[in-house]
Symmetry: C2
Subunit: 411 residues, 2 copies
């Protein structure tokens, strides 16, 4: 058993019932060892719309293939997730597992197979019998409840050391609706949907097309702006379900609808909260690192520079060693491949200016920076000095704990 991350939040948030959603997480015996939860199921009311964002991997898992195939239907009645086995790189056997799972789930939920979404997380490449997941479904189905959020968040964990949940209440017109979600992930985490699963739910009534558009843009600023180890998984999946069973609100027909402004912001907050929790649970993480890049030629360029810093093993080991080695930040800016001019570059840590115009500031005193880097949260600021593009990304330090967890994951 892994020790809880020192960066974990004090507790799982209190998430209320969301009309139209019942949910659970259970131990069904997919994972060996102690009685950990290893499966999650959510059932959604008829009429629930769905949006999804998936891994960019060219070798996606069988569940990702399935979700991509049925997503254009825009409707969902159940989501089934298992941990312990990723059902990735399992060939035809993997497709059979998905087939059996969605068939069993559709029977239980009383819907079409195309309204079942699935995800799997765990070891890649281990074939399992077709009924590996489906035969466990009845137990899950019986346990469904309106507010078993924490059980559900636990049911999808792998090397995570704490369950990750978030919730916001927000208005569309005068009607208050809820957005809640949970996520997993602590290794194989990089932008473009790294090994992470995220499930979001709202009782608002939003057409699938609109839901897809707002999910995509919130993903870029949250889950796609974090990195633990630069590795991208075969299985990453974020799903967002809108039941339409909450308080009645003005009809929404476009992502640009002014009535959706607060809703979109709240969604971004929930997703960013979950994303940062994933970084806080980064394998071996001892420090949460927030990187603000400004002055890049575009927002996309700023994000790439931020991720180059966030993915640099040398930056991450320096932070682990509480060494304010800002030269490595300069190195990481330089290697990003984005427009940068050494002589216009400014770097700060903990709000203290370290460099200006291509060299260390006169009379630079490392004392406050050295104190800052000893804390649990480290801030790096970079100003490229070329334009107005900015971005914020998050990462953690690279420690002995990461090596320990990953040098012997399967055994």
């Amino acid at each position: 058993m892994l020790k809880k991350s020192p960066l974990a939040p004090a507790s799982f948030p209190s998430i209320p019932e969301i009309p139209g959603v019942t949910i659970t997480g259970q131990h069904v015996g997919l994972k060996a060892g102690p009685k950990v939860k290893d499966m999650m199921m959510a059932c959604l009311a008829a009429g629930t719309t769905i949006a999804g964002v998936f891994t960019t991997s060219k070798c996606p898992s069988a569940p990702v293939d399935w979700c991509r195939k049925v997503l254009p239907g825009g409707k969902v009645r159940a989501i089934v997730v298992n941990s312990g086995n990723a059902n990735a790189f399992t060939g035809i056997a993997g497709d059979r597992v998905v087939d059996a799972t969605v068939e069993a789930a559709a029977k239980l939920a009383g819907c079409k197979k195309e309204e079942i979404f699935v995800a799997s997380t765990g070891v890649i490449g281990q074939p399992v019998p077709p009924d590996h997941i489906s035969k466990r479904l009845p137990k899950l189905f019986k346990a469904l409840k309106p507010n078993s959020w924490q059980l559900a968040a636990r049911g999808i964990m792998t090397t995570d050391t704490f369950p990750k949940g978030s919730v916001r209440k927000v208005k569309i017109g005068n009607a208050e609706v809820t957005i809640a979600g949970f996520a997993k992930g602590s290794g194989m985490i990089a932008p473009d949907m790294a090994t992470m699963l995220g499930f979001l739910f709202t009782d608002a009534k939003i057409p699938a097309k609109v839901l897809q558009s707002i999910l995509k843009s919130a993903t870029d600023k949250s889950f796609n702006s974090i990195t633990v180890d630069s590795d991208t998984s075969t299985s990453d999946t974020v799903l967002f379900c809108a039941t339409g069973k909450g308080a009645k609100h003005p009809d929404v027909t476009s992502a640009a609808d002014a009535n959706l402004k607060d809703f979109r912001r709240a969604l971004e907050e929930v997703m960013t909260d979950l994303a940062i929790q994933i970084v806080r649970d980064g394998e071996g993480a001892q420090k949460l690192v927030t990187i603000d890049v400004a002055g890049a030629v575009s927002a996309a360029s700023a994000r790439r520079i931020g991720l180059s810093i966030a993915n640099s093993p040398l930056v991450k080991t320096a932070i682990a060693g509480e060494d304010a080695n800002w030269g490595r930040i300069v190195m990481a800016v330089g290697k990003a491949g984005e427009p940068a001019d050494r002589d216009k570059l400014s770097v700060s840590m903990g709000g203290v200016a370290i460099t200006k115009q291509g060299q260390v500031v006169e009379g630079y005193d490392e004392t406050p920076v050295a104190a800052h880097i000893k804390g649990k949260e480290v801030h790096i600021g970079v100003d490229i000095g070329l334009g107005r593009g900015k971005a914020r990304v998050w990462t953690c330090d690279l420690t002995h704990g990461y090596i320990e967890i990953n040098a012997d994951y399967r055994s």
Copy 2:
């Protein structure tokens, strides 16, 4: 002091005198602590031509700026290298150090400033007085000898645990010439010239333009096909000097000259030998990993897929843990962003086929693979199954040693 890498070769090779080259490495006190060599100087006969390849970093060091500026002249009379301070991100102060260094070296060598090449390696961002290097030059100049190759190789080391040299004799026409070189690097190593310095010398007579062309293509297959930690330095420099003082051979006027075929192969061998020595000295390395990618849509695509595997922290930690977790290799192929088809992908380790057509081979027995991965040299084979592009890249495992070395480098 770092312990010698367990992957180090038995000894430094015996490199003969190369007519037209005198060289040395000395302790001059640039680095604190024990009496390690910290400076290198080479002098070249009049008429020596030069080629160079440099870091792709957008924040290059002052020495790299200088070398780029004078390289078009194609002539060299001396090379001066210091370790301990990278003279990178040092603003105008850094340019002054280069100025003073090349001026002093030109006076000693009796040549123009534009015939002096410089390189610096060590901590980034620490300004030093202008005469930091120049005032140490006379000591180096006096010590120059025709065959102090090992001293020179030691003079450029930073976290390296052994000096790296290589030599080949080869014919152009009927005349035997020599190619010899030495290199440094063990961290901040990634393709596109990572923190590495390499210096190559031959007594063949080759015009600068031809030299540049053959150096560039050999670099892609050697130094640009290795990675230790994916980090690209501000200071990477490879220089290749041809004195023309060896046995007389047919005139060479083009890189495509048939007489150069063996010479080009020998150069590639010397550079690949040095590149692999750098990986063998990778910070914390316990295993040398060779990755062969075949069946990609092009050689460039194969190289990118190979480097995606070679840079994956999850692949590298699995190898450190002697865990034949081939699922992570699939993950790394998938994240490379290159054309790949899960269902055509084959993976092998130690020559044992593990997967075929998107799933594990029937009756796969892990025993021989588990035995292979316990050795000091690990081989990974990947066949993408789409085309004829192939590439070979090298990396090392990611161990606690890497964290130890890098979490506290400056102190």
